[in-house]
Symmetry: C2
Subunit: 378 residues, 2 copies
């Protein structure tokens, strides 16, 4: 199911076969939280800018429009007219970051909807049921998320609970996949490693969940306050304990530099809201570094945002026009900027794949790990 075509030290060039199509890895998943990419980007455009996998959110779609409704309409891929793979987040992270009045028990989590305040319960079985209704390609395990730093005892207990929940997720998804009315009977489950910034907890938890032999594994609970060095250190420690023959997904990460570091440490899947969020504030990724469109010096600049970029924005529009649109708060400006940044991320992954295939990933890494996150020098 997951084929490793080539390795370059720890970096892996892989191919993940799913019922909804093949995913070439390393891959960046484009985030469409509520079954829509931010900034008004359409699924037709997603395909055009090289997106392989779209990520949607269990928590958001459960609250609105409701997973039962999406199920009636054929699942989230049919609902949003996206024929390629979709990964759904389990809702665990959103319960931790968005919802109010949380109460966590061994059964699951009680929380209030951030939309209308109504009380909702979600546990491993509920999350699997929702994701089965959404009929995504890959379902994520329901885990207990915690911020960093957190006390050792607390993290240890959360890890144990997350491990127990994972077994329940697996059992429930197996059951759901076997039901006659299930839309995607081949839905895959990825487990999630937790353990905060404690190396022993991380490793112990990873070893424990690896025993379940799931189709893929994620590292969760990073990029939540611990700093970059800590994050890289944890990935470095955990990775050797992740199954070699399964895809590894670093959740919610990150900058182009973070992605380069993590690929170098053996990670295959990524997702992040950063390219869309930066775009909305006029910050574009280019192969010369980060470009702040709001800078006065671009006001009369007839060049495309990134010379040589093949995205729909750079093929058609100038820095001056984009700057005008963003300053005038025209939605088109946001959309064109988001399109560019998502294209850039997908292109980054394409180049990373090429670099691993052709044994120059280390050079690629050294060339870009600093320059891509620095400001463009003119």
């Amino acid at each position: 199911m997951f084929e490793i075509l080539k390795t370059d030290r720890r970096a892996r060039r892989g191919r993940f076969y799913t019922v909804h199509g093949v995913i070439e890895t390393p891959v960046f998943m484009n985030v469409g939280t509520a079954a829509a990419i931010k900034g008004g980007v359409s699924t037709r455009e997603l395909a055009e800018i090289g997106c392989q996998v779209q990520l949607s959110n269990t928590y958001h779609l459960h609250l609105r429009p409701g997973d039962e409704l999406i199920r009636e309409l054929g699942g989230v891929r049919s609902f949003m007219n996206w024929p390629r793979p979709v990964l759904t987040d389990s809702g665990g992270f959103q319960v931790y970051s968005l919802a109010k009045l949380r109460k966590i028990t061994d059964d699951g989590v009680y929380f209030s909807s951030h939309i209308d305040g109504r009380l909702i319960f979600m546990g491993p079985e509920e999350s699997m049921k929702i994701q089965s209704n959404l009929a995504s390609t890959i379902a994520m395990a329901f885990d207990e998320c915690i911020g960093n730093p957190a006390p050792y005892d607390y993290v240890e207990k959360a890890c144990e609970r997350t491990a127990r929940w994972l077994v329940r997720c697996r059992d429930e998804l197996e059951r759901l996949n076997s039901l006659p009315g299930t839309i995607n009977k081949h839905q895959l489950l990825f487990g999630i490693n937790q353990g905060g910034t404690y190396e022993d907890l991380r490793v112990r938890h990873m070893e424990r969940i690896a025993e379940l032999d799931l189709p893929g594994y994620a590292i969760g609970g990073l990029a939540v306050g611990e700093g970059l060095r800590e994050m890289y250190r944890i990935i470095d420690i955990v990775e050797p304990h992740m199954p070699q023959n399964k895809p590894r997904y670093l959740m919610g990460v990150g900058t182009p530099a973070d992605i380069l570091e993590a690929v170098r440490l053996g990670i295959d899947f990524f997702d992040c809201v950063l390219p869309a969020r930066n775009a909305r504030h006029g910050s574009l990724f280019t192969w010369q570094g980060k470009l702040n469109l709001l800078n006065e010096k671009y006001a009369r600049d007839p060049c495309p945002p990134d010379q040589g970029c093949g995205c729909p924005t750079c093929r058609s529009h100038s820095r001056a026009y984009l700057r005008h649109l963003i300053k005038a708060k025209e939605v088109l400006g946001m959309r064109l900027a988001v399109l560019h940044n998502l294209y850039f991320y997908n292109e980054l992954m394409l180049k990373i794949r090429g670099a691993i295939e052709n044994n120059y990933f280390e050079d690629f890494y050294n060339k870009y790990r600093i320059s891509l996150i620095e400001r463009v020098k003119d």
Copy 2:
């Protein structure tokens, strides 16, 4: 320059030749106030949905990003990457409707920018200079706009001033077109008829400005509070005094029903923010009538917004998905809805042209003038 291919009673099927391409009339111009269509629709999409002419605003572009900047970047068509014709509004209406602290003299209008409050002066020469910098295909005359109803004496004085200003607009644009550095030396001037709801003033003003033998004439100062019957009555009265061999433009109008009425009275050009504004509120035009996407009954509706519609939205998405996006305030929902409504308007004009060409405009008018503005019956 304007060729009438066919008439059906007063309705005209025409062809307007410009330096930026041919405009098939009757035509609806898609409104991109600040050099961008609302809702994040791109110029590439504009072409795709059959838009012939894009309308931009002198007032808005003068304030931001500035017409001198746009001139440096090759004019508004080059700035926004729109190769087809552009009509620029003169700014007169926006000074009347948006700006504060207006003081009108024979020279022009003093007003405060609605963006930063700075004091600005605009008269006929200034408006022509800005529009020449924008290098649109068609420049509109700078006129004095008034709301309806207004006292007779006041309207009469405004008409006289508008007529005097028109001569200054013509002279100034001729001068600007002859300058070596001018981007579009073939920029065309349309005069604007005013006169409120007073038939004698309307006719007298129209006769006076017709003498200037300009490339086109507009009816302004309607749809500003006078009601539909009044509006149709004024068009009916003025139209016989408009030159037969010049395009006629009814500014800022209107619903599909208004357009049908006005085409029937001999109008050729239209523009209106209505399709985009309605779309943003979930109201879609369809050939079965108006459809309110926020209606609960569409929550699980897998049909496209309008069966048989060929727009990018209807080809790819369901009512249920659009409703979800608009309720979740996802920008994509607004964009898909605006795309549909603009496509509908362009399609309406295409069908109107076909109906006039083939002598069934009267039947077409009778079939649709009521049904298009009524709610969809399911």
